[in-house]
Symmetry: C2
Subunit: 253 residues, 2 copies
Amino acid sequence: MAAQRGEGDAVVATPRNPADAEVRERARAIPEAAVARLAVYLRVLSGMVDQGVTTISSEELSSAAGVNSAKLRKDLSYIGSYGTRGVGYDVEVLVSHIERILGLTRKHSVAVVGIGNLGHALANYGGFPSRGFPVAALFDIDPDLTGVPVGGIPVNHIDDIATVCAEREVSIGVIATPPQAAQAVCDRLVSAGVQCILNFAPVVLQVPDNVEVRKVDLAVEMQILSFHVARRADEAAGEVVNGVGVDGVVIRP
Amino acid sequence: MAAQRGEGDAVVATPRNPADAEVRERARAIPEAAVARLAVYLRVLSGMVDQGVTTISSEELSSAAGVNSAKLRKDLSYIGSYGTRGVGYDVEVLVSHIERILGLTRKHSVAVVGIGNLGHALANYGGFPSRGFPVAALFDIDPDLTGVPVGGIPVNHIDDIATVCAEREVSIGVIATPPQAAQAVCDRLVSAGVQCILNFAPVVLQVPDNVEVRKVDLAVEMQILSFHVARRADEAAGEVVNGVGVDGVVIRP
DNA sequence: CCGACTTTGTGCAAGCGTTCACAAGCGGTA
DNA sequence: TACCGCTTGTGAACGCTTGCACAAAGTCGG
């Protein structure tokens, strides 16, 4: 209630640029999978800019990003037609359009909750601020941590989530707590008005429809890898009867 | 040569259990998306075991895992028919079958490369060993770190990847290095025989076909969330012309 | 033993996302 | 200006995933 986020700002933005309406329409239609890839393209393109590359073809960019070139072109077509046939894409133009679609023209302040090992690492991680995601607040339930600076930012007590998030205009909450605490922390973030959550805790969070959750689950990732190890071992066991693996490449020399 | 992982093992394993061939066939056919969900089900089920729950219906389990119940049943059907109509699934039976399919009956030793902030957090993360993924080796390029114990394990120099990984039968490599070093580290892991890699570095790794890579990319996750923030702001801006956003919650105060 | 009720397992159709293939468009060249 | 070669942008086909809906199969009470 207190921290109702936003009232005048976004509204004024509407009539500012005549192309905005079109951008909005496109953004609505972009498949989730394509959004994830756009972020990857953006990173590759940023590297290109640093190398002084000014133009790039879909073939080059797609192989650098590890995808099919047709897929790349289709992904880019979701955000508009900014290539030149016979030539390729202007790197800087592409960068700025992807940034616009991904909403990177705004700053997105981040709050990290749970200052354990992972929370420390996140608070100190340089990749966030450099890409427009400044870490604006840290929270922990341990009173001894309150006020202690981590990565240059003093830790707040978790009870102050609502006020601090409002003050610092936090738009993304990162949950790095133990699993038992994650749902409660999530609820607090949501009621503090945070609508986007990145969850590192190994639990399935229950949130209202208007909140977006992405999860990073190490255990799941490891188990998927484990599955592939097992599948491979089984295949090898099934197709060879003794000694060497299926394609001559066994586990180790 | 020295520590050939399961040379005899995997091979002899074949005829051991008559059901193995069937398990192998099923495993081959499970869609990747379903594998990821199976890992989630497994975690929920483990929690159920701890609570003393012995039986669970697809409806209960699916809502706890945040998926559709039909999808859950289909996922479980990939690994076999282990439910009882009219009753549900026996929790322990399900756990053991999912564990078998995911290959969790073997130990999967993990090597972490890059002992910075994230590497420290990973080395100290309790979730790995408890789930059958013991951290068996740590590597860094900094000679000053060599021999220093982190999370109880002494750090090795990166030049020793091949020998140490062989000795300790590492099957999963975790890359937590800066992006510039990631590809080189990856190449070393691959030539050391590691076939599964979990990559935290923000780069697209190039690997041979027989190597499985999963990536955890914080920047991409943040940018996807950013996209949703922007989309929401746009929708709000598009649907209201003055004053309050679509559901009363706009960007900033 | 039977019938009512519950829940699984799955055929089928709809929806997405990916891939192919090619027309359209642009720069360069004579 | 007209042609040529190259690369984009996209319609259409394909395949994977999801969700529905229901028959099959079991339990439980009488």
